[in-house]
């Protein structure tokens, strides 16, 4: 079948070989000459923080994206993968973090969906298929009720349907993107056994994850990615969690900041015992404690999904909380309201600027007015003060050096850096008492990143409090006066900037805290 193209390397058959893969999204390099090899019959963990580029790499292997440069070989044959269909034909199947299932169809129907002959074959054909599917699920230990509609299945069962779907279509290379993020510990344990079975049948299994414990528990080999680059690939037997944590977050020496820090002023934000539920009643924050003073930058480091999003939403009035108290500027905040947060002087740089920060199809003026249009300066008797707003916008554009052809240009046509400058202009011009900045430099190039850092520093120096929530540990360490580490909805460690130690923070972020760390 493979005309001698198979490479043998220390008795392993290379099933996936990606060489020199480059992928750019605008100015950002998501994959910078990534080399990645997977053997047949191994479980290979692709480890990295969020944004390290692991999902991008896998998306190119499974045909969701196309690489800008580089070669992909499957079973020794050089291939071009343009679509998930191409990938499937080559035996590559991917289980996404967000399942792609039709809620109203049964599990079995979802598995056969898209098969050419599945259009209408009647009940007997379906029964046959169900047996076939049951045989596969039994073989790999993936039990789920085949004749039930998806919406009646638990999340764990839905994931099994997804896995069986790839197996049914003959996948030999199976990619699982953050497979345990939705599972209970028991379900995760079961999943690992399934992966073992697949491996024994000679399939290549790739899991992307940022959880060190899982990596050590399941995989044979581990590839670590950081900031779009492939750092290394090592055998599990030759490493440990500590080393992996260091590889994942990097080892560069933290630059101590030269400028003199102003002494923090009075207490601005005091969060006590905060309990918050996420969208599906899952606990997002539990008994979280947090203080921010005037004139300081407090950095919150942590791996995505540990409650950062919910924390920012609560502070900016977007999400209600279940228990605990929030005092801002000496007064207790009782209910969640975006408008009162705006009026109290809380500014917000949201996580995804185009999704919730800016209105892409509108121009500069409209985007700058977002939070100020209600004030007397900008509207009167229900009418916007058009010429005044234009002048005001022009001033801001110049002050913050936003590069735009004119004030009417839809902001989606600006570069990411200029969009972020615009966002900062809007939030800073209100002279906020507290700035909640979430991943403020995500997707920006180095120059724009420096600009954002400068703005945050200036804001701090002018006496505002800044809460910086970021997954980029370098950024948190570089800017913050205090670093808090969030894990599983709690602040599990606080470190002052002078004593910041990457390795320890990395361990804390991975949930490897040793008791004795006083949460503040």
């Amino acid at each position: 079948m493979l005309k001698g193209a198979t490479e043998l390397r220390s008795s392993f058959i290379v099933s996936v070989d990606m060489q020199g893969i480059v992928k750019r999204f605008g100015p950002v390099i998501a994959n910078d000459h990534v080399n990645f090899q997977v053997y047949a019959g191994e479980i290979h963990a692709l480890l990295g923080e969020n944004g390290a580029g692991k999902s991008t790499t896998m998306s190119m292997l499974s045909g969701v994206y196309r690489a800008d440069a580089g070669d992909i070989s499957i079973d020794g044959k050089r291939v071009r993968i343009h679509s998930p269909k191409d990938a499937m034909a080559l035996g590559v199947g991917m289980v996404f973090q967000n399942f792609r299932l039709v809620q109203s169809l049964t599990a079995a129907e979802n598995v056969v969906l898209g098969e050419k002959s599945s259009f209408w074959r009647g009940a007997r054909w379906m029964k046959e298929k169900q047996r076939e599917i049951e045989a596969i699920s039994e073989r790999f230990g993936l039990a789920f009720p085949v004749d039930r509609p998806i919406w009646q299945l638990s999340v764990g069962e839905q994931q099994r349907v997804e896995i069986v779907k790839t197996l049914y279509r003959g996948a030999r290379i199976i990619i699982l993107d953050e497979p345990t993020s939705v599972l209970t510990p028991g379900e995760a344990e079961q999943l690992f056994q399934t992966l073992e079975r697949m491996k024994r049948e000679g399939k290549s299994v790739i899991i992307t994850t940022h959880k060190l414990k899982e990596v050590m528990a399941t995989s044979d080999r581990i590839s670590v990615m950081r900031k779009g680059k492939m750092i290394t690939t090592i055998n599990k037997s030759e490493t440990n969690e500590r080393e992996l944590a260091r590889l994942m977050v990097g080892r560069e020496i933290v630059l101590t900041k030269q400028q003199k820090r102003p002494i923090p002023g009075k207490l601005l934000l005091n969060v006590q015992q905060l309990d918050v539920e996420a969208d599906h009643g899952r606990k997002a924050l539990s008994a979280l404690q947090l203080r921010v003073h005037e004139g300081e930058i407090v950095g919150v480091a942590g791996v995505a999904g540990n409650g950062q999003k919910e924390l920012a939403e609560v502070l900016t009035g977007l999400r209600a909380w279940k228990g605990g108290s929030i005092h801002f500027n000496g007064k207790e905040i009782k209910t969640a309201s975006v408008r009162s947060a705006i009026e109290a002087g809380i500014s917000h740089i949201p996580e995804n600027r185009m999704k919730s920060g800016l209105a892409g199809s509108l121009g500069i003026v409209d985007n700058l007015l977002f939070k100020s249009y209600r004030t007397e300066d900008h509207s009167r008797l229900g009418f916007l003060r058009a010429s005044k707003n234009r002048m005001w916008s022009q001033e801001l554009v110049e002050q913050f050096d936003v590069k735009t052809p004119d004030l009417e240009t839809p902001v989606q046509q600006l570069s990411g850096g200029n969009q972020q400058k615009l966002l900062f202009a809007r939030e800073i011009t209100r002279k906020p008492r507290l700035m909640v900045a979430v991943h403020p430099t995500q997707g920006l190039d180095i120059g724009a990143t420096e600009g954002v850092h400068r703005l945050l520093n200036e804001l701090r120096n002018s006496g505002s409090g800044v809460l910086l929530i970021s997954e980029d540990l370098d950024e948190v360490l570089q800017l913050s006066d205090r670093v808090l580490v969030i894990y599983n909805g709690q602040i599990i460690g606080e470190i002052s900037a002078e004593h910041a130690d990457r390795e320890r923070i990395g361990m804390l972020m991975a949930g490897l805290s040793t008791a004795g760390e006083a949460a503040v």
Partner: protein, 371 residues
């Protein structure tokens, strides 16, 4: 079952000799595109004309003569023009209603029902206060027509905001409820006793009818429609509330971040959207038919959806597209004498919508050469 397009492509790339270069294109989602270019409506109309020309030719007619006849029928005489405008009035008002709702991404396809509700609301004034002078009757009819249409719009908006019920389905279904209610009134309690069993109310008096222009059928409703368009333009452009609507329409997540209560706006907008269709219904009974009767709308509410889409929600575009569709209806009548069914105009309408939607969809893609 197992085709390997990818390996084949790889083979050709490696330069396996003798492989002929295949000329191929593929459609790809273009992430940089978020809206269709301005010329898609024009292209859609042109393609629709071309498609229907085929069917006209199959019917044994010369498409060019037929189209010429439609154009002269609709725009070639002062009679044609005023008739076209008469049809354009309800289309413009309903289309504006649809457009306002779509501004905040609400699909109001219930203009037909809101139109009927407005007609009923206006007629109720006449039934219960038959002897008021014109200065009172006309404004009252206008207010009640608007309120009835607005109420019908709210019936869609309330379940949407409080229970998340899809407005597409409720607004569509409420159309049937409204039309059947109208049937009930004209076959039942409101039927003209001297009408020889015709399903309609008695004819309105002079005082209950909108003033018309000279001897034509062109009535005051045109002024209502133009004022509504002007208000729409000014509101969206210059007021605080219009700014909020623009924000919600452009990015509802961001609007939430700006502290805007989106549910409140859905209620207000649907009240206005329905109210505009209600005015159209009032203007139709008071200005054209002079009675409430069975089958009062030939589907204005549905055509209005196409009008709004063709205009891309632009105020000036709404005027142009409603006149165009009014002309299409009138032109459709005038080709009947040539032996063609007047449904040729429905066919054109359908084809225009088809190409519009296809254009909006396809413009999100780009062509890439090479396999």
């Amino acid at each position: 079952m197992r085709q390997l397009p990818a390996t084949e492509a790889a083979a050709s790339q490696r330069g396996t000799s003798g492989m002929k270069r295949r000329f191929s294109f593929r459609l790809e989602l273009d992430p940089s595109r978020s809206s269709a270019p301005w010329w898609t409506p024009i292209l859609s109309v042109a393609l629709a004309l071309l498609l229907c020309a085929v069917f006209i030719a199959i019917n044994g007619m010369n498409p060019i003569t037929v189209y010429m006849r439609m154009v002269t029928g609709a725009f070639g005489s002062s009679f044609g023009i005023t008739e076209t405008l008469v049809k354009a009035i309800p289309l413009l008002l309903c289309g504006l209603g649809v457009a306002i709702a779509y501004r905040i991404s609400i699909w109001n396809i219930g203009a037909e029902g809101q139109f009927a509700a407005g007609a009923m609301g206006a007629t109720a004034v006449i039934i219960y206060f038959p002897d008021l002078p014109a200065v009172l009757t006309i404004p009252l009819m206008l207010v009640f027509g608007m309120l009835a249409g607005g109420f019908w719009g709210l019936l869609t908006a309330i379940p949407r905001t409080y229970f998340g019920v899809n407005e597409l389905i409720t607004s569509l279904m409420l159309n049937y409820v409204a039309l059947l209610a109208l049937d009930y009134f004209v076959f039942g309690p409101w039927k003209d006793p001297q009408g020889f069993n015709f399903p309609g109310t008695p004819m309105f008096t002079e005082a209950q009818s909108l003033p018309v222009l000279g001897t034509t059928r062109l009535h005051l409703g045109l002024v209502f429609a133009l004022i509504a368009i002007l208000l729409y333009f000014l509101t969206i452009r210059y007021t605080k509330w219009g700014y909020e609507l623009r924000l919600i329409g452009a990015n509802s997540n961001a609007a939430k971040n700006a502290g805007i209560n989106i549910n409140k706006h859905i209620l207000i907008v649907m009240l206005i959207s329905g109210g505009l269709a209600g005015i159209a219904g009032m203007a139709e009974v008071s200005g054209v038919t002079h009675r409430l009767m069975y089958g009062i709308s030939p589907g204005y509410g549905y055509t209005a959806i196409i009008v709004a889409w063709l205009a891309k929600l632009n105020p000036l575009g709404l005027i142009v597209s409603s006149v165009l569709f009014g002309g299409l209806i009138v032109g459709g009548y005038s080709v009947q004498t040539m032996g063609l069914p007047s449904s040729i105009s429905s066919m054109l309408q359908g084809a225009i919508l088809f190409f519009l939607i296809a254009g909006d969809m396809l413009s999100k893609f780009r062509l890439r050469s090479g396999g």
